[in-house]
């Protein structure tokens, strides 16, 4: 039996950051609880934060379940995490700048050439282009799990366009609206500066060719996208236009948007569409979402794109294993945050180990996301394991394996009262002229008892995440 770290209780009783939550929890009558839960759901629905799961059909206005029990970090815990996250974000950006330039890290033999240059996410089309301020990944989402009081592991990096930050902000709004007393009793660091920091970050990477106050836009695939709510939410809070590909066009050395007054120049595009769809002339010719000619303007320094095309090569699960190496190589520091020990199935001896221990391991696709196409050994049936064994033997390059982590738990409201449920954390680090991190992030919680999969597409929920002030 694995022993899980409970973030609220340890051998000595209630851990300090949770002290005041205990009274709150103990004194809340059951009726009030269900009343508040219903109120929260009504608020979410009215605001319109909904989440459509790809290909599942059903209610297009499904809500991600919100759990009212907050997840809390002590000030000191957070400071250490913060240093680790910023360090990692810097290293990832240094890596990107390097592999699209001279590739020193490959030349030095610290990362296999094949993993970088033959990677699907490596964009040859942008090799040799230096994006404004040298930043590739402007919003880095680093998924963390906790296994003990001082043990945090990075589960994966998201260098392209990590989603979910709207939940971080809305969860807080709703908690403050429903439980103002909690915020009076606890000193909790605010997160609401995120949108203005994001805007400042994006404006700071405007190309030199674009004089004046830069025009920033968010590029969305459209209102059918499951994250559309988030796109419009961020555009609103930043006070920038939310555009679709059809709203933009290229003329001369710039990108323009179609407005009721005529064309207006666009300087920075925070895109929420994937590389292959950005520009049909450069990437997928059948893309209807992108802007023909965009990459030419980008290449000539007429527009900034966040994240820069090609940034995906840094968050690939096979590259992941080398991030600690990047920290040492580029920054000359020791990594503050550890990686989860990972076996690369591409390596024959590691594959052997993986195949021999499948029932204890978690196996993931190198390019997968959203909790799909993965095997959680301890939870899987014999048949599932055998099916995966076949896949692994056939295409070992596609997979990595990790030990099943003893994910920490946080008290969570469930049918029977309050019970521990497993959580992870995604903070959002902003990289522009400066590196910024708001104290908080998105805590995802696996609502099913014993489940370790927190993805919202697989029945996960979300919690407000608190960082206590000093």
């Amino acid at each position: 039996m694995i022993d899980f770290f409970n973030e609220m209780y340890d051998a000595g009783g209630v851990r300090p950051p949770y002290a005041k939550l205990r009274d709150w929890m103990d004194t809340m009558p059951a009726e009030l609880r269900s009343l508040k839960q219903a109120e929260a759901e009504a608020l979410f629905r009215r605001i319109g934060i909904t989440f459509a799961v790809y290909g599942e059909g059903g209610d297009p206005d499904r809500l991600i379940p919100f759990d009212m029990f907050p997840r809390v970090f002590a000030h000191a815990e957070w400071r250490r995490l913060e240093r680790g996250i910023k360090q990692r974000a810097r290293a990832l950006n240094a890596f990107l700048a390097d592999v699209y330039d001279r590739g020193e890290i490959v030349r030095a033999g610290r990362i296999p050439k094949r993993l970088v240059y033959l990677n699907e996410a490596y964009e040859k089309a942008v090799a040799g282009i230096r994006p404004p301020k040298g930043v590739y990944s402007h919003i880095v989402g680093i998924d963390l799990v906790r296994t003990g009081p001082d043990e945090f592991y990075v589960l994966e990096d998201n260098c392209r366009t990590p989603s979910g930050v709207s939940y971080m902000l809305e969860n807080r709004e709703i908690m403050m609206r429903m439980f103002p007393d909690l915020f009076g009793a606890n000193r909790i660091e605010p997160v609401d500066s995120y949108p203005s920091l994001l805007r400042r970050t994006l404006a700071s990477v405007a190309p030199e060719k674009c004089p004046g106050d830069p025009t920033v836009v968010i590029l969305t695939p459209g209102h059918f996208n499951s994250a559309y709510y988030e796109h419009s939410f961020l555009a609103d809070l930043m006070g920038v236009e939310l555009v679709e590909g059809q709203d933009l066009f290229v003329e001369g050395e710039h990108v323009w948007m179609r407005t009721t007054r005529g064309p207006e120049r666009v300087d920075v595009i925070y895109r929420r569409i994937d590389d292959p769809f950005l520009d049909p002339l450069c990437f997928r010719p059948d893309s209807m979402l992108g802007v023909p000619g965009l990459m030419d303007v980008y290449r000539a320094g007429g527009v900034a794109i966040a994240s820069a095309p090609g940034a995906g090569v840094a968050d690939d699960k096979a590259i992941y294993c080398y991030v600690p190496e990047m920290v040492r190589f580029y920054l000359g520091e020791e990594p503050i945050l550890e990686n989860v020990p990972t076996w690369q199935c591409a390596k024959p001896d590691e594959l052997k180990h993986v195949l021999a221990n499948l029932p204890e391991l978690v196996v993931k696709e190198v390019h997968g996301s959203g909790g799909y196409g993965m095997l959680v050994g301890p939870k899987a049936s014999k048949e599932q394991i055998e099916a995966f064994r076949a896949k692994l033997t056939e295409q070992p390059h596609n997979y990595i394996a990790q030990p099943t982590l003893a994910l920490s738990t946080v008290p969570t409201f469930v049918e029977e009262g309050v019970a521990p449920r497993h959580v992870d954390l995604r903070p959002y680090c902003l990289v522009g002229e400066r590196i910024e991190l708001v104290p908080g992030g998105l805590t995802r919680v696996a609502l099913t008892e014993g489940s370790l999969v927190v993805n919202s597409s697989q029945g996960g929920g979300v919690k407000d995440t608190w960082v206590m002030a000093e």
């Binding site: 319109g48 209102h223 709510y229 419009s232 609103d236 059809q246 709203d247 009721t260 007054r261």
Partner: protein, 317 residues
Amino acid sequence: MLSRTASNLYWLARYMERAETAARFLEVGARIALVPNVGHGYRNEWDALLRAAGTSIQFAQKYGEPIQRNIESHFFFDQENESSVAACLTRARENGRIVRTALTAQVWDALNTAYQELRELERTPRSELSLSQLTDWTMRTTALIRGTIDSTQLRNDNYDFLHVGYHLERADNTARLLDVKYYVLLPQVEFVGSGLDNYQWMTLLRAMSAHRAFHWAYGGEVTAARIAHFLILNPQCPRALITCVDGLNTHLERLGRGYGRRTPAQSAARQMLARLAETEVAEIFDVGLHEFLSRFIDEVGAVGQKVHDSYLSGDVR
């Protein structure tokens, strides 16, 4: 602002107004059907309604007989009927969702709540819903949404595009509602001025929530000429054609001033208003009410096209 945003706002307003009209159509039909069907020369009242709404063929194919329950389905619930209350509200809300950032929280809240209530109505057994419940709900909802727009939106170009949409659609819809009269009763001389004739006119007034206002404005006798004057030429009546065209002008003028650029849409709307202001009721009846209304509806359509070309298409230079 983005041309596409302007377009979404414009259509949001048009669909809201159209939803309201669908409910008003239902109400006219229900009231006309309450009068005993006397004599020849009549078409079925519901059928007349479908013709005026321009959906009689579509209806016949899907439902066959125009009985009340089917009519309710058609005008209220049917998502396949593009002009039904449900279809219009759904699309208005979708347009609103796309441009959430251009709406105040109150407007979005009203729009989204309407949509949630609509889903609720769709789940309610039909036996528990009366026709008047459906029409009352629709009018309350559309009034609420319009109220939040008027009391909370910034008076900027967003606001103007919403109102251009509202006024254009209302102008078109009032003309179509008036035209129901033509379809219900072919202009046969023996009926003109009869009690039945007047009853039908009053029903139209009622459907536009204007029957009391009419009495305040005119007093005395109800005559076809007075009602036509009220609904077409009297700027006091909020749904009158002249009022709608006037509102259209106001907002197109504001856009023109704000952008420092005159557009063909503006000129066309101004000409329409000038002509209406010169028109007398007698002339309308001379031309024939139906003919007058048909021409008006075409002109409104042409202004709509010009609004599209001047602002919404994205090819503005």
